[in-house]
């Protein structure tokens, strides 16, 4: 995955040879960044109070801290430990299972097999076959079972081996998961987490490359979050498990091997907040999941060309964090949405509507939304590449937007 962006103290591609000393977060050396910014502004990866003071640009509004640990970065110098995204998910899951004995996992091959993406590896040996339940291949029914268990006191995590399989569970997710709290007049809560990998992978074929966030977004009563880094994966996993609401956690097949240093201390992120990835002035780029990396790669090119994009990983697909997004729009007046969802009825479509509704006066140009083509993902590598948004398209979209 050569497209990963080498940043400061944040996501480190697994093939990285440069060791970034995160003590130098405030003033990163240009060598490690491999970006030359002619205007001399500092390139920071995470916004927090310390960095903003050091930044040379003026801010109208303090960009809200979108991560739970205020005033700290996601990593500190010698503490923290490095791991891959799927390990981060597992760590979060294990910590929650340790903390609360009612937390259990159910899904296909989560137990003895350890999960098809190894997220639950080792858990069945530790917690037993009932707490990490290997289910038969009956998505609708075991999701419904998870809902029934949640109503009666447990806190289940239902894993879809691939998010696409959860289409079979749509009945239960829509009718029961989202609605039962309401139709029971608030009597029953459904603290369930439904998670799994989705998105376009490497030639997995149409049915294994689906993006279900667009299908689920209209269901009232559920929350949807998408993780993109080991840090936010662990934090969102924990937050989702602790939440009393039903939460759908979208992971991406291609992001499971991302490596990052995350804190040793326990942390939980907010399910409703977006993450400021790169503050900027010229254009707001809203993205989530894997497209974050395409955007950051495009950002490299854009910075070279003299643009200053602000990149926000929206993380919360439902509901949208309109504050972070709004502050950004009010600053840059231009919005580009980059998503992997389909064009029609996707997250981008909803986001466009939400921004237009709330911040129309602040926009200098129409919102541009780059989504995947409305095409069943083809098997052929070339065709697959063209269905998904590529960094070059992002660069030209920004150039056009900023004219």
């Amino acid at each position: 995955m050569a497209t990963l962006f080498q940043g400061v103290g944040a996501v480190t591609p697994f093939s990285a040879s440069s060791s970034l000393d995160s003590n130098k977060l405030l003033l990163p050396s240009r060598k490690s960044l491999s970006i030359s910014d002619s205007r001399g502004s500092i390139f920071v990866y995470r916004s927090d109070a310390l960095n903003l003071k050091a930044a040379t640009r003026k801010q109208d509004l303090l960009i809200p801290n979108a991560v739970a640990t205020k005033g700290e970065t996601s990593t500190s110098a010698k503490s923290g430990h490095e791991l891959l995204l799927f390990e981060a998910l597992r760590e979060g899951l294990e910590e929650e299972m340790e903390r609360d004995p009612r937390v259990c996992v159910m899904g296909e091959d989560v137990g003895h097999y350890g999960g098809s993406y190894k997220v639950t590896k080792g858990l069945a040996e530790k917690y037993g076959d009932l707490r990490v339940l290997d289910t038969p291949i009956a998505e609708n029914s075991f999701t419904g079972m998870g809902i029934g268990a949640a109503m009666t006191g447990l806190r289940p995590i239902v894993e879809g081996m691939n998010m696409g399989f959860l289409l079979l569970a749509f009945n239960q997710i829509s009718n029961n998961c989202g609605m039962l709290h309401y139709t029971s007049g608030g009597q029953f809560t459904i603290p369930i987490v439904i998670r799994g990998p989705g998105g376009v992978g490497r030639q997995l074929g149409a049915e294994h490359s689906q993006r279900l966030e667009s299908y689920f977004q209209s269901i009232p009563g559920i929350q949807m979050v998408a993780c993109s880094t080991p840090y936010n994966a662990k934090g969102l996993m924990k937050a989702a498990i602790r939440s009393e609401n039903p939460v759908i956690l979208f992971e991406h097949v291609l992001l499971y091997n991302l490596k990052e240093r995350i804190p040793d201390e326990e942390y939980v992120l907010s399910l409703e907040e977006a993450e400021m990835v790169r503050p900027g002035e010229h254009v707001t780029i809203l993205t989530y999941s894997r497209m974050r990396y395409h955007v950051m790669q495009a950002a490299k090119t854009l910075v070279n060309k003299g643009y200053d994009p602000e990149v926000i990983d929206i993380r919360s697909l439902k509901p949208f964090d309109l504050y972070t997004i709004g502050c950004s729009v009010k600053k840059t007046h231009r919005v580009l949405i980059v998503e992997e969802c389909m064009r029609t009825g996707g997250i981008g479509a909803s986001l466009t509507a939400a921004i237009t509704e709330n911040f129309h006066d602040y926009l200098d140009a129409p919102i541009v939304c780059l989504s995947s083509q409305d095409v069943p993902t083809p098997y052929a590598g070339t065709l697959e590449e063209w269905t998904v948004v590529q960094p070059a398209q992002i660069v030209s979209a920004v150039e056009q937007l900023c004219q």
């Binding site: 809200p64 004995p101 009612r102 259990c104 037993g128 009932l130 707490r131 038969p136 009956a138 609708n140 029914s141 075991f142 999701t143 419904g144 079972m145 998870g146 809902i147 029934g148 268990a149 949640a150 109503m151 009666t152 006191g153 447990l154 009945n171 239960q172 009718n175 029961n176 039962l180 709290h181 309401y182 139709t183 029971s184 007049g185 608030g186 009597q187 029953f188 809560t189 459904i190 603290p191 009232p220 009563g221 929350q223 939440s243 009393e244 609401n245 399910l271 409703e272 907040e273 919360s316 439902k318 509901p319 949208f320 964090d321 309109l322 504050y323 972070t324 709004g326 709330n358 911040f359």
Partner: protein, 430 residues
């Protein structure tokens, strides 16, 4: 029409009789033959000798083993005591009168939408639910009023819910098809058929989890899942039979086979209409019982529930029953043959229980009439309560969408939307 369909005759040719438990309805449809269940082998229908009027032995199902008849209660040879009898009678009368009152109220415009009445099927609800503890779970379908009442939800709350008032058991947000009660462990009330079965399986899983993982002493709650014949052709049913048998979950699957799914006859929709046979295919006992006879249902229920409580796993019970009214109040019920309806009207479970109580000197006419009156007054009170209850205010609109209202997200002003004062008024834009 398939070949096998010609065996099953529409309409019924057997003449109606009062307690025709011995006359099978269709040539190969085995009416009320049962016996003491033998759970060692995953099977079947068997014979039971009813202790009341002598009944001729019915043709034995040519299925598998012959099951021995056993003597039931040693001492009195009666199936129930007087107290039990009166409890059963009162519960069935409550169900019957309540549903009749619903129909009245519907036609007077007090309730709307789809209302599915349970008249005729009371024996199943009473027979099963009266064996449960308060902590046991019941999951039902859209025909759930009587399940709610049998489980203990006050008639006032059910009536209010039907009227759509804020004092309903679900604050008026559920309606006829979504009755829930945390207090009485009624897990719904589902509009799509089959939808509740996985939820019931989940509740049973929860019970097993509490016993085996959390090691809670006395965690032996049993779940009953009620559903109809139409549901037995649905995937969720089979998937849950598999999982329940696989993990030996404490659940009883109760099929209320009233032979009709709106206008679709069970026989026209099902390749093998004997639903009880599907239990053994998954490794659990399948029982067929006369669902118009509360005492027979009770016998079967007792064993199935105790089996589940002991941790021996699920049971599939098919109750042959009938709904006297249409599928819902919107159904003109023109498709079913009047002769069939008359046949089952003659097997009214309430009449049957009354006869049993009188014949065995367990209750007098006056006592039963007193119960009737008591229920009538209860229902009048329920209707009055529902009438006078307030409608839900606007502020209630958004309250229960999320258990944690932070789920509505962060608004443009940086505050959570649920902190917006308009949110509590129900006028916030979320």
């Amino acid at each position: 029409m398939s070949l096998s369909a010609t065996k099953f005759v529409h309409p019924i040719t057997t003449p109606p009789s009062t307690r025709s438990s011995d006359k099978p309805l269709f040539s190969t449809f085995f009416g009320s033959n049962h016996t003491k269940l033998r759970f060692n082998k995953p099977i079947v229908a068997a014979q039971r000798r009813s202790s009341s009027a002598a009944s001729t032995s019915s043709p034995v199902v040519a299925v598998s083993d012959v099951v021995k008849e056993k003597k039931l209660k040693s001492a009195s040879n009666l199936l129930i005591t007087k107290e039990e009898g009166l409890v059963l009678y009162e519960d069935m009368i409550l169900g019957r009168f309540f549903e009749d009152m619903c129909a009245q109220m519907y036609y007077r415009g007090k309730m709307f939408g789809f209302v599915h009445l349970y008249n005729g099927q009371e024996a199943v609800s009473t027979g099963f639910i009266k064996f449960l503890k308060k902590e046991d779970y019941v999951v039902s379908t859209y025909r759930d009023h009587v399940h709610a009442l049998s489980k203990g939800v006050p008639a006032r709350e059910v009536m209010s819910e039907l009227f759509g008032k804020a004092t309903g058991c679900c604050r008026g947000q559920g309606g006829s098809m979504h009755m829930f009660s945390k207090q009485f462990n009624l897990l719904g009330g589902f509009a799509f058929i089959g939808e509740g079965i996985p939820v019931a399986t989940g509740a049973a899983f929860s019970s097993k989890y509490r016993r085996e993982v959390l090691k809670e002493p006395g965690a032996d709650e049993v779940t009953l899942a009620f559903f109809g014949d139409g549901t037995c052709n649905n995937g969720q049913f089979y998937e849950c039979l598999n999982m329940a048998a696989l993990w030996k979950l404490p659940i009883v699957f109760v099929v209320e086979n009233n032979l009709w799914a709106i206008g679709m006859s069970h026989l026209r929709a099902t390749s093998d209409p004997q639903i009880w046979k599907k239990g053994p295919a998954f490794g659990m006992p399948g029982i067929h019982v006369d669902g118009m006879d509360v005492l027979k249902v009770r016998e079967v229920a007792k064993e199935a529930i105790e089996r589940a409580r002991r941790g021996e796993g699920p049971t599939l019970v098919e109750c042959e029953t009938y709904r006297f009214r249409g599928h819902s109040l919107a159904d003109p019920d023109e498709l079913r043959d009047p002769a069939e309806k008359a046949h089952y009207a003659g097997r009214d479970p309430i009449t049957a229980l009354k006869k049993y109580l009188f014949d065995n000197k367990l209750a007098s006419e006056q006592e039963l009439k007193a119960i009737d009156k008591k229920i009538e007054e209860l229902l009048d009170d329920a209707v009055e309560f529902a009438d006078e209850s307030p409608l839900p205010p606007r502020s209630q609109l958004l309250e229960n969408v999320f258990a944690d209202p932070k789920g509505f997200g962060i608004g443009p002003d940086g505050k959570y939307r649920c902190e917006d004062p308009k949110f509590t008024q129900g006028t916030a834009h979320v």
